[in-house]
């Protein structure tokens, strides 16, 4: 890890009291000053890359590794270091091993397959909104809509019983909380993997029409993959699939409520306009806000500095999404801009596997919510909303609303 010169900033950087939708100004400020900057971590230092062009170039570069067991890999906390060192899933592998494992799952997440899920997603949305309406205001949008929707969707897709959601939502929350101790994070992860391993074994003899049944038959029963490997990958799909989308729904709603004309456009607009609005909200919020983390395998020259082999690198995708070289007036939410080049799903071979599923959910969830409750409003001033600053996925812990 780089050690010599002093660091100006620690990572994760603290959000200031200003706009809750903006990345820390100290980070976006680097875009025009020191685009590759040394930052302090809890246990060392790493390079912070802010510019969009530099991030795209390096995240696609094979000299940059996602191997979390590498000693130079920049972990965000002791808990995540302990967990990451044990992870066998493809998010922590490099190509060609990464591609081999990822391709076991890509068929289930194509544009065609995920669009095919739209009618089912719409009916889950309608059921949740019916229940909210029956119960009447006030509601917590996170507990009543934003979290159950992606949880239900990913459970159906994987073939995980939704009735166990208390257990796995709690375990996921511990895993992605940077305040968890290494023991807590490992224990939560262990329990999830045991649970999913049992489920996969069960599906060998009791298959359903779901992803884990396919993996049980094609990978586990054939000996192509071990129980541990299948379970670890199932854990990745289960966790990655709900906190991120849930927070996009809740935080996105919170942001739309600050921009009533744009909310109305999403409520009444064409599907094309809604598609664009979702890309823009992904850009504007960057809920995966703690950066893409990598380690340099060779010396790399970029942005006027030399990153040495073994140095940790953090790609601040929230800063890239506010890069004025790519997005005009990046601080403005503008659903009619072209936001397609956003980095909300990362870049390079690890770019989000579930992105097209997330798109389907978001493109249906926002308009349905706004149509059902045209009078939707926050029940509390914005500055009293509890934002998820310490979590690996940004968003709101709860969103009290009325209509």
């Amino acid at each position: 890890m780089p050690q010599s010169s002093p660091t100006a900033l620690s990572w994760p950087a603290e959000r200031t009291a200003g706009c809750p939708f903006d990345p820390p100004p100290a980070v976006t400020g680097l875009l025009t000053t020191v685009p590759v900057q040394r930052v302090a971590l809890w246990d060392g230092t790493a390079w912070l890359v802010t510019r969009h062009a530099d991030q795209v170039a390096l995240l696609r570069d094979s000299r940059v590794s996602a191997d979390t067991s590498h000693p130079g890999y920049p972990a965000l906390s002791a808990g995540s270091r302990a967990m990451r060192a044990h992870s066998r899933s493809f998010i922590a592998m490099d190509d060609p091993e990464h591609a081999d494992r990822r391709r076991v799952y890509t068929a289930d997440f194509t544009v065609k397959r995920t669009r095919g899920l739209a009618p089912r997603v719409q009916s889950l949305i309608d059921d949740l909104l019916d229940a909210m309406e029956r119960k009447g205001p006030p509601a917590d949008l996170v507990a009543d809509f934003a979290l159950p929707l992606p949880s239900l969707v990913i459970c159906e897709l994987l073939g995980v019983p939704y009735t166990d959601h208390d257990f796995f939502q709690r375990a996921s929350a511990v895993i992605i909380d940077t305040r968890s101790t290494p023991e807590e994070a490992l224990e939560a992860s262990r329990r999830l993997i045991d649970y999913l391993g049992d489920l996969i074994e069960h599906k060998v003899d009791h298959p359903g029409d779901d992803l884990l049944s396919r993996v049980a038959a094609e990978q586990f029963a054939t000996g192509l993959s071990t129980r541990e490997q299948c379970a670890d990958e199932a854990r990745l799909l289960l966790i990655a699939g709900h906190e991120t989308t849930a927070n996009m729904i809740a935080l996105g709603t919170c942001a739309f409520l600050q921009h009533p004309e744009q909310l109305a456009a999403v409520r009444d607009g064409s599907p094309e306009r809604v598609e664009g609005a979702v890309e823009e909200m992904l850009r504007y919020l960057t809920v995966a806000h703690m950066g893409r983390r990598r380690v340099a395998l060779e010396d790399i020259e970029i942005g006027g500095v030399r990153i040495a082999a073994g140095d940790g690198i953090i790609f601040a995708n929230d800063a890239a999404n506010r890069d004025p070289e790519v997005f005009e007036h990046p601080e403005r939410l503008d659903i009619d801009r072209s936001a397609r080049r956003h980095m909300a799903f990362g870049s390079g071979p690890h770019q989000c596997l579930g992105q097209n599923l997330a798109r389907v959910e978001l493109q249906l969830a926002y308009p349905a919510l706004f149509r059902r409750f045209p009078g939707l409003r926050l029940d509390r001033p914005l500055d009293e909303i509890p934002f998820r600053t310490a979590m690996a996925v940004y968003g709101v812990h709860e969103l009290p609303v009325s209509w």
Binding site: R102, R103, T106, A107, F109, G348, Q351, L353
Partner: protein, 64 residues
């Protein structure tokens, strides 16, 4: 303009399909890119260039 795709590099993110569905598709078995036509259809130049830019794996190339 002539398009080529690199199946080895493709990570099946589907960004190209979203942008230019008349040019790109994904294989049903593994989500890897399928080129529907090596020639850019009239009026699709901008969409294809955007696909080159957003493909996370740098798996699409366009030559004059």
């Amino acid at each position: 303009m002539h398009i080529t795709v690199n199946e080895e590099k493709c990570c099946g993110a589907g960004q190209c399909v979203l942008l230019a569905p008349d040019v790109f598709d994904q294989r049903d078995e593994d989500g890897i890119v399928v080129l529907l036509t090596p020639r850019v259809p009239a009026g699709q130049e901008a969409a294809v260039h955007e696909a080159v830019a957003v493909c996370p794996a740098a798996a699409i190339e366009v030559r004059a």
